[in-house]
């Protein structure tokens, strides 16, 4: 049980704790979860910290109920979050789809561990990357962020809330066992320095209010329960007013809206960090913890005068199609380094038009990919 109270600008803190503190900083005032290694510290910190700021923590009977409660709380107007790992993330899939369909902002942290199945509870993997995009039934458009440091755990959780509120959609923070269980010194911003986005509120008279209004921004203003707007929310395909429909035109309109609010805003949602990409012919494409080894590796390569660079998508979903197409123009070789059997590499290959060689560097034996491994791969393939 971690009892330190939030304090001081510069602190040595655990990745999972940074995530919890990021949530509080973002305005999260409700957490429902179910313990699972290696995410549990997030819940434990919030059980301690949330009531101090007037927030609510509840341990539910399982992960399904956890995300349900989170959705319920968000609908009641409170920014809400849950945290889990692989098996719990699989159980949450039905409700991730519900939150998406019902356009309920909420944040889901998945601290990835070794899979499949119970797998390796205390070891790392990055093998839920595709699941974050395709885990629920029906067409779904995910937003997922991948921190690679303790500081990013803090900042990306805040950003996850901001994106979630801005686009009225669930946002996933895809962290992992190493980042989650790592301690680093973090310099915390003053709360005034933190940019917070809150869901847009309706301005119309309740009689005119449509909870799922279709507008050119694809995001409808959101009244909370109890605010005087009485509307219906359902996971059935529905009209802008929230009532079920089976009219093909209305169905298409709804599903297009869900899609467009992500695909039309890729530029706003996606953040990419580059290193040496101005003149690189070879890129290492890596996200989350692996990007750190990759950064070191491209530095090693540069020392050997190899024109290598790093592309680190901070946002893994939506995939930055246009950006990558553009980058691939410039590149001879992309090495996609992941702690799985090859997931995001498929996306790189998808946008590749055949000009660039795309090679995978995959590790899935519970150990990290080292800078040296990446450097060797650069040397071999170049």
């Amino acid at each position: 049980m971690v009892k330190t109270t939030i304090q001081k600008r510069e602190r040595l803190i655990l990745g999972n704790r940074a995530c919890a503190e990021g949530a509080i900083a973002a305005g999260c005032r409700f957490f429902a979860g179910y313990p699972i290694t290696p995410s549990t510290e997030i819940a434990e910190v919030l059980a301690w910290e949330l009531p101090k700021v007037g927030g609510k923590f509840i341990q539910m009977e399982d992960e399904i109920a956890s995300l349900a409660a989170v959705i319920g709380a968000s609908v009641a107007g409170v920014k809400s979050m849950t945290a889990t790992s692989g098996p719990g993330f699989s159980l949450m899939q039905e409700h991730i789809g519900y939150a998406f369909m019902a356009e309920v902002p909420c944040v889901i942290v998945n601290v990835q561990r070794g899979g499949p199945s119970t797998g390796l509870p205390t070891k790392i993997a990055q093998a839920d990357t595709m699941q974050a995009r395709w885990g629920t039934h029906g067409d779904y458009h995910a937003i997922a962020l991948a921190p690679s440091s303790v500081a990013e755990c803090f900042h990306f959780t805040i950003r996850a809330f901001n994106l979630s509120e801005k686009y009225r959609t669930p946002v996933i923070v895809l962290t992992d066992e190493v980042v989650g269980h790592m301690r680093e010194k973090v310099t915390f911003p003053e709360s005034s320095e933190i940019k917070i986005i809150n869901r847009m509120k309706p301005t119309v008279h309740p009689g005119w209010y449509q909870h799922f209004e279709v507008n050119p921004h694809f995001v409808s203003p959101m009244a909370s329960f109890g605010e005087g707007y009485r509307y219906n929310i359902t996971g059935l395909t529905h009209n802008p007013d929230g009532f079920p429909t089976a009219r093909p035109v209305a169905i298409k309109e709804k599903l297009d809206k869900l899609k467009n609010k992500i695909t039309h805003n890729v530029n706003d949602i996606v953040e990419i960090r580059e290193e040496f990409m101005e003149d690189a012919h070879i890129a290492v494409f890596a996200y989350g913890i692996v990007a750190r080894a990759a950064r070191q590796a491209v530095h090693m390569a540069r020392e050997k005068r190899i024109k290598a660079g790093l592309i680190q998508p901070l946002t893994v979903w939506p995939f930055p199609d246009v950006y990558m197409e553009h980058m691939l123009e410039q590149l001879d070789l992309v090495i996609v380094a992941e702690l799985n059997q090859g997931q995001l590499i498929r996306e790189v290959m998808r946008v590749n038009t055949g000009k660039t060689r795309v090679r995978g560097l995959n590790r899935y034996d519970s150990e990290l990919i080292t800078p040296d491994q990446i450097f060797q791969k650069i040397r071999e393939e170049k």
């Binding site: 549990t40 390796l120 509870p121 205390t122 070891k123 269980h181 790592m182 301690r183 990290l368 800078p371």
Partner: protein
């Protein structure tokens, strides 16, 4: 080991002002706590979060010593619990019976690793003595502050004494 690793990281990172990245390895399940703690220290940005080659290895069991010794740099420092590690690698070794001392002088073997931290502060420049004591004050669970501080002091003095003894010889 996580507690000791965290104290050291806190001392180096926050008190002494360097960048640190502390990671750990767990057994197959979380409950047991970690059995190994790694620390990377740098004045610049830390990229890869795990040490590739060790500058310092503190091994409290024979198994740990055997497993991790190969990663120690040529000129790295090896500190072992001489009461528990008897097969020493061919290397300059600092051995102290940490566990023994902890049990005998503080009454619980649990502070053995904090004594070891004291020894590290005395033997190397990795961490300052002041930083270490501050970090202990901050991180020790309520009620254990005193005995942990005492343990660190003990480790420090122990080493000084040995150094002095060696000098005398």
């Amino acid at each position: 080991m996580v507690f000791a690793g965290t104290v050291l990281a806190e001392a180096i990172g926050v008190e002494d002002g360097k960048n640190v990245c502390q990671t750990q390895s767990y057994g197959p399940e979380a409950r047991g706590g970690a059995s190994r703690s790694d620390l990377v220290v740098s004045s610049g940005e830390i990229y890869y979060p795990k040490p590739l080659k060790l500058d310092l290895l503190l091994a409290l069991t024979q198994e740990a010593c055997d497993t991790y010794f190969p990663a120690l740099k040529e000129d790295g420092v090896l500190i072992v619990d001489s009461g528990l590690v008897d097969q020493l690698p061919d290397h300059k070794v600092h051995g102290f019976p940490f566990t023994q001392i902890a049990r005998d002088q503080i009454g619980t073997s649990m502070v053995a690793n904090i004594i070891a931290l004291g020894a590290i502060a005395a033997l190397t420049k990795i961490v300052s003595r002041k930083g270490l004591l501050e970090a202990i004050k901050k991180r020790a669970p309520k009620g254990t502050e005193e005995r942990n501080l005492k343990a660190a002091q003990l480790g420090f003095e122990l080493t000084q004494r040995k150094k002095r003894a060696r000098k005398k010889r």
